[in-house]
C-alpha cells in the first residue's frame, strides 16, 4: 500500500499529510518532488495544501500546468484514488481534473477556523465509511476557497452525484456551500478543508473521529481493512 504525495515549490502541508498517513494510519507514503517521476506501484496520490508557486497568477494554475500533472492525469484515468486538499483542490480544478473553480472568499480575507462539513456522496474512495449527511468537524484555512460553478456544471454535478462535501454554514460564499467535489467516476476528490489537520484528537477541538474516517475510507478502498 503506497501513497504518493506530490510536492511543488511552495507546497506547505505535505509533511503534515505525510505524518498522518505514515504515523497515524501506518501507510507507506512517499513525498514526490514535482520534477521527479511518479514512483511505480503506487496505489493512491495526494496533492497537499500550500501555496504552490506562491499562488502567482492564480492559486494552483502554475502547478496544474507542470509536467507531473500529466502523469497524475493518466493515473486518474486508470481509476486511481486521488485526493486534492486546499491548494491540491485548486490544482485539480485548474488542471480540469475536477469541474468548477475556486475564487477569493467573499470576505476577501484569508480565513483559518474550525467548521463542519456534511458528507453528500459516500461512494468515493475517501468517503465510503461515512453515512450520508454525516457531519465532520474540520479545519479550514484558505484565501481562495469559494467554490464556484455555473448552472450547467452544477446540473452535471448533481446529476452525477459529484458533490462530495458541503459546509454546515456559509463560510465563504461557495456555490451551494460546496466544500468538495469529485470527478464523474468518483475516484478524484478535491476538498478545501484539511482532513490532515483534523484527524488527531489532540488537535481537533471537537471530535477527530469523523475526519480520520476520510483516511480509513481510503484504506478501505485499497482493501487494507475491509
Amino acid at each position: 500500500m503506497k501513497i504518493a504525495i506530490i510536492v511543488f515549490p511552495g507546497s506547505n502541508c505535505e509533511r503534515d499529510m505525510n505524518h498522518v498517513l505514515a504515523e497515524v494510519f501506518k501507510l507507506e507514503s512517499v513525498l514526490v518532488w514535482h520534477t521527479d517521476d511518479l514512483p511505480r506501484n503506487i496505489d493512491a496520490i495526494v496533492l497537499p495544501g500550500g501555496f504552490s508557486y506562491g499562488d502567482r497568477l492564480r492559486a494552483g494554475v502554475i502547478a496544474a500546468n507542470s509536467p507531473i500533472i500529466s502523469q497524475v492525469r493518466k493515473m486518474a484515468e486508470r481509476g486511481m484514488p486521488i485526493l486534492g486538499v486546499c491548494n491540491g483542490f485548486q490544482i485539480l480544478t485548474e488542471s480540469g481534473l475536477l469541474p468548477g473553480a475556486l475564487l477569493r472568499n467573499t470576505t476577501l480575507n484569508y480565513m483559518c477556523k474550525w467548521t463542519e462539513i456534511i458528507v453528500k456522496n459516500n461512494k468515493t474512495p475517501f468517503t465510503n465509511k461515512f453515512r450520508l449527511n454525516q457531519r465532520i468537524p474540520i479545519a479550514i484555512a484558505n484565501g481562495e476557497g469559494r467554490y464556484y460553478a455555473d448552472g450547467k456544471t452544477l446540473n452535471m454535478l448533481r446529476r452525477n452525484n459529484q458533490i462530495v462535501f458541503t459546509y454546515g454554514e456559509d463560510v465563504n460564499g461557495a456555490t451551494m456551500k460546496i466544500a468538495g467535489v469529485c470527478n464523474k467516476e468518483g475516484n478524484v476528490v478535491g476538498m478545501m478543508p484539511h482532513p490532515e489537520r483534523s484527524a488527531e484528537q489532540i488537535l481537533n477541538p471537537r471530535d477527530a473521529r469523523p475526519s480520520s474516517m476520510i483516511f480509513e475510507s481510503l484504506l478501505n478502498a485499497l482493501g487494507a481493512t475491509a
Partner: protein
Amino acid sequence: MSLTPQEFEYLETKIGRKPNPLEIQIVAAEWSEHCSYKSSKKYLRMLPREGKNVISGPGYDSGVLDVGGGYVVTVHIESHNHPSAVEPYGGAATGVGGVIRDILSAGTRPIAILDALRFGDIEKDSQARWLFKNAVRGIADYGNCLGIPTVGGEIEFDRSFTNYALVDVASIGFGKKERLIQNRADKGDYVILIGGSTGRDGMGGSQFASDKLESENRSAVQIPDPFIEKLVIEAILEARNQNCIKAMKDLGGGGLSCAISETSDALSVGIDLELSKVHKREQGMSPTELMVSESQERMLVVTGPEKLKMLENICQRFRVPFSIVGQITDDHMMQVKSENETVAKLPSNVVANAPLLDRPAIRPKYLERIATVQKPKTLNLSKTVLNMLSNPNIASKMWVYTQYDHEVGIRTVIKPGKDASVLRLDNGKFLAVKIDGNSKHCYVNPKEGVKGCFDEACRNIVCTGARPIGMVDHLQFGNPEDPEIFWTFKESVEGIAEYAQYFEIPCVGGKVSLYNETDKGPIKPTPLIGVLGIIEGKPQMARKAEKDDLLVLVGVTKCEMGGSEYYEYVHNVVGGTCPVVDMRSSKANQESVLKIISENLAKDVHDCSKGGLAMAVSEICIANSIGCSVELDKVPAEKLAVDEILFSETHSRFLLIVSPSEIQKVKALLSTAGVSHGIIGMFSGRLVCFKDKSGKVASVRVDKAQERWLNSLESLVSHG
C-alpha cells in the same frame, strides 16, 4: 546617515588611515544603533544569560534551548517599526521574513510565529486603522505562504503610537541538537549568497531605523517575497541535512555590510568578497548600493570546497538563485572587491564592534506630574462593563488571528485566543509560548511596568501547565539621546533583570529598537517580554464550565489603577499607581496553580490582567456560554472601592473554574501553600453578575457581552 565626528576619529585611529567613502558607508551601516546596540549594550549585560537548558554558541542569531530527547527549540524576536509605519503591508511582511531567517540560521525549522502589534487610537484615527489592517494582512500573506503558523501575540492601541506602528515578530524553531549549525570556517571555504537577488530596496534601512521617523523614505522599505523565502527555507534545511553548511547568517539590517563583518568577526576569520558575483535584480548598482541594500530573503552560507557541488545541486533542485561571492581568509579582514579591484578593506572586529556610548539618563519630569491622580467618578457599572468589552484593547482579536493560518504544521494544540499557545513537539513534550507588553503600565512606571509584563507572560504560560524555561525581550523606546527617554530604557532593563534573576528564567535573546518617534513625540516605553515554557505531561485543556461549578480567584487584588484600561479608556485618566509585582507571592501563586493543573483539579485556568477581574470573568463566561454570579466581598483584597475591585489590573492573579467535587482539594492545596484565594462565584444562568453586601453592582447578559466582545474589532475595521 553617517558617522559622528567622534566615531569618525575612532575609526581613523583604529585603521590608521582615512577610510574611503565606501568604507564609511559600510561602517555607518554596521555602527547604526539598529545593528550595533551602541547605546544599549552595556545595560543588556545585566540580563542573566545562563540556565540549564541554554545552549550558546558563536554567532547564533537566535536563542537555543535544549528541550530534551536530542531536540532544541530556538527563539528570536525582532521589530520592523519604521518600515511598517511607512508601508505597513511590506514592512510587516518583511518583519516576519527577517525573524524567520534568524531561526533558520541556527539550522532549525521555523515552527511558529507570534506577533505583537501597536497602533494609534483605531476608534478615532483612520490612519491607525489603515496601518492596522495592512500590517495584519502583510503578516498573514507572508506567514501563510511559508506554511509557518502564526499562533499567538498581542495587540495594543494607544495614542502615543499615532502615525506610527510597532510591529514585533517572534519566531520559534525546532530541530535536532546534532544538526545545529556549528558556525566555524576554515581558510579556503566558500562564501555563498543564497536566495533573493540584491536590488535597490531597503537601501540603508538600518540607518533609517536609527533616526526618528520624519519623512516617508520608501526606498528604505524592503519588498517581501514569501515564495522565495519558502524555497530558501527548504533548500537550506536540505543543505543542513547533507552537512553542506559550516556557518550561516541571515542578511537583515545592514545587508552585506553587517553579514560579512559580523560573520568574519564571530568566526575569527577574514572574508574576501567579490561584488561582481552577487546576483542582482537591477543593473548598474554601485558597490555602496550592493553593500547597504537590505533586499530580503537572502542567506550567507559558508561551505567547504568538498561540499560546494552538492550545495549548488541543492539550490538548483529547489530553483533558489545563489552566487559564490567570496572566500574565507585567515587575515581577520573583510576585503570587498569589485571586478577584482579592492574597494574596501577593513579589520572585521573594528567594523563589527562599534564604540559603545555612555548615554546620560535623567528621571523624566512627567512621572512626577502623573504620580497621583484624582479617582474618577464611578459611572453605571453595568454599562461600563459592556463599554470595556468593546474596548479594542480588550475585545476579541479573532478578526486578526483567523486571517493567520495557525494550524499548519499540525502542532497547535492550544490555539490563539487563549492565555498562551501550546505546540506539540516531537519528543512528546509541549511548548507553551506567549509575548506580552503593556505600554500604559510602562509609561506610568517603567521598571514595575516591565516586571508586570514579564509576570503576565509567565502567568499565561503557567495557565497551560507549563514551566517557563527561557525568555526573550524586545525593548522599544524613543530617541536614546534624550536623557529622560534613556532613563526609561535603563529602568526597564533593570526590571527585567530583577524578575529574570528571581524566577531563574534566562534571557536567551532580544532586540533593542530606539528612535521610535514621530514629529508628535516619542512612543510610550514599550518593552515586550516573550516567555517559553515546557509541559512535561499533558497541557491544561479547557473543559466547559457547567451549572454549579465554582470560580476561584488566586491572589490579592490591590488598588493599582495607574495605566489601567479602566482609567485610560473609560475615564481618560493617565497616571496613578501602576500594578507592582510582589515576586514572592507571584512565585507561590504560580507554583500552586501548576500543582492544581498537574493534579487535574481545575476545568480551566485563566490569567487575570488587562481590564481586571470584570473583564476576565466576562471572557470566561463568554467562552463557556454560561453566566456567573460573583460576590465581590469574597475577593481577597485591600479595602477597595467597587470599581477598583472590578477593574484593577493587579498582577499575579489567576481565575480557576473548579467543579464542586474538586473544590475541597483545591481549597486545601491553596491554604496549605499559604496562597490568598477566594471562592468568589458560581456558574449558572445567563447573566454575568457582580454583587457586594449592598446588592447588585453590575450585571450583563452573556449573549450581549459576547456580541460586544466578539464583534467590535471587526466592525471597527470593516466599517470604519
